[in-house]
Symmetry: C2
Subunit: 385 residues, 2 copies
């Protein structure tokens, strides 16, 4: 089978887009991706979205977006896997192209979180936990992450402000990304005095909910336009795995088993080792998830993921650059779009077009999209020659 190529990429700025509808937001990213691909016409659309039925009173996004973009006649569905919806939509698009059943696929992640504020978003986000046994008790996404962080700090004797490096790196990198929600580096003192949100996680340990859309055109290498002028970025590996939904059902709350399994499988499918990965876009919805992502991927021993943030290993010139364009923390976390942003950013890096965020000589990037505390994990490995 020929390689699946990310032929086109598009994205909107991440932020608070109260002045633009969900469909127009998606259209902006889709138009850019189609243009970028050399005007490939997709036959299928996979929409990654998390909460539009709740927050925007709009389901059936496949038709909504295909219609709005002049693509009626193609096939179109929404793929939902909580915070991993974007990664899951990418994976379905990848499978469709790899199968040979369609020639070109459009993957779009879109989310509008900020039309509603505060409790509305928290309640909607809580529908991605176990509703009957967790949400009904009042747990929130941040509450779940805080429980995990407490245990992690206790088991591993993490010092005060031990997670600071994740936010500092993300914000330093976001400063160079014109599409990031926050484009300002922060200082350790700012982290140290930030308001507590869900003890032990402060404001800088938690990625901001945001609005945004990102899009990809996938096709097979032999179907690219003759005048295609970008370096080829191929999807070398793709894998996904799920764990228990409720945190209380985990034998090991710090295990993030689904993330470990998905990374192992994706590397195996790509036929590479972890040492060949030049940068890692993790799902830093919460700093503790970034720490666990580093450990379960194999970049750090158990209990030592936080040290890679503290010692500069995840910085652009470190051992394994992470959140290279700001991550969820500084680029912003637009729900089901996040996983697609990761792919757009990784492709930008591999094309050598990341500007101030560029990881020098990057040939292989790994992206990981999580739903809940790695209840779902989707991992893709992108490569260029």
């Amino acid at each position: 089978m020929t390689d699946v190529i990310i032929a086109g990429i598009g994205q909107t700025e991440v932020g608070e887009h109260w002045d633009i509808s969900l469909r127009d937001l998606a259209y902006a990213a889709i138009r850019e991706a189609i243009r970028d691909s050399g005007r490939l016409r997709p036959q299928a659309l996979y929409v990654g979205n998390m909460l539009a039925p709740n927050l925007s009173n709009q389901a059936h996004l496949g038709v909504l977006l295909a219609d709005h973009c002049g693509l009626t006649g193609i096939e179109a569905v929404t793929v939902e896997a909580a915070g991993a919806s974007g990664g899951a939509a990418l994976r379905q698009g990848y499978i469709a192209v790899k199968s040979g059943m369609v020639d070109a696929v459009l993957v779009v992640g879109v989310e509008k979180f900020t039309d509603q504020v505060g409790a509305g978003v928290d309640s909607a986000l809580a529908t991605t936990t176990d509703s009957d046994f967790e949400a009904i008790q009042g747990i929130t996404a941040a509450g779940q992450a805080a429980l995990i962080a407490k245990r992690y700090i206790y088991e591993n004797k993490v010092p005060a402000n031990g997670f600071a490096g994740f936010a500092l790196t993300a914000h330093a990198n976001g400063a160079g990304n014109p599409n990031a929600m926050f484009r300002k580096a922060i200082k350790p003192e700012a982290y140290a005095k930030a308001d507590m949100v869900s003890d032990p996680l402060n404001m800088f340990d938690i990625a901001p909910v945001a609005d945004g859309a990102a899009a990809l055109i996938l096709t097979r290498a032999d179907l690219l336009p003759h005048d295609y002028h970008h370096p080829l970025v191929k999807i070398a590996g793709s894998a996904s795995s799920v764990d228990t939904l409720a945190l209380h059902d985990r034998h090991d709350p710090l295990g993030f088993v689904a993330a470990r399994v998905a990374v192992e499988q994706a590397l195996q499918k790509a036929g590479i080792t972890l040492e060949q990965v030049d940068f890692f876009e993790y799902h830093d919805a919460f700093s503790i998830y970034a720490a666990l992502a580093l450990e379960t991927a194999g970049f750090a021993a158990r209990g030592e993921g936080w040290k890679l943030a503290a010692d500069g290993s995840i910085a652009p010139k470190g051992r394994i650059p992470c959140a290279t364009m700001g991550g969820l923390k500084a680029r912003g976390f637009p729900g089901g779009a996040a996983g697609v942003y990761q792919a757009v950013e990784a492709a930008t890096q591999l094309r050598g077009g990341a500007g101030r965020c560029q990881v020098a000589g990057a040939k292989t990037g790994m992206i990981e999209s999580l739903g809940g505390p790695a209840s779902t994990a989707v991992v893709h490995i992108l490569r260029t020659d």
Copy 2:
């Protein structure tokens, strides 16, 4: 590529299941499907669901169900395309197996509509229309169908009670299906005096929202257990297409273009003609949609679909038996599960196990799952040798 086989089928009775949770409802169908397949172990789960984030406060169903069924470690996502969610989930499962990337897939459709009543369900259903331009004006799913039916009756001079045959056939067939919500034949007089719901559609023109779950195990023919004892039911064709979302954007509100395109493509992929189709499970959420499904598939000329119901052509011994186990009207309409029920019922027919509902000598069945007024259409053709 080898054929994709429906190796296992499972379903719950359709009805009002206030006493059982969404996950337990799905589990009952999943357990039956896995047993029926000879205990194949799926590597991927595709959940067809329409409104659980709204009606059950539960998103992230892939993990919920994989976890509840002891299947953590596999991959799992929800596929949403309004009323066509079940058909769309089946299509994603089919693509995954056909691609060779997974050996066995579990497809489950599940919906709980009746925990909420009246306006709650109507509002939730309205999120599948164009929220910004239709739902906000107060349109409901039944209202949309009524607008189409009015035009259809006007253009085609349909007499009073012209749609009665759809409900009469569905209820007569449902009487023989132990899993149907309504198992009682109705008389023409009952139809004639039924309460109007959304003029010109009366109570019997509208399928009842219901709770239910249905499940399928898909695999490749060469991977079936050695002692597999069911007749082989293969997926010979699969296709999907979308139209505009808003009804007011259609050039031809009676055209149901997406349904026409999906049928044409599915027949072409299966390499058969319409004459070879022995029975047709259409999406009779509203009787008018059944009439248009018959026309756009090619079983009737434009404007004459209703006559096939009036003259007995869709009866079990007619030219093209439809809704053979009750259809959405009598088996019941459990949202995102409906398309999976269609596949379970078609496989039952092709195995020759439909009991009193059996279509004699059936070798080829076509199933069509619609989202909205054929805003999404998904068609599958199932065959046995």
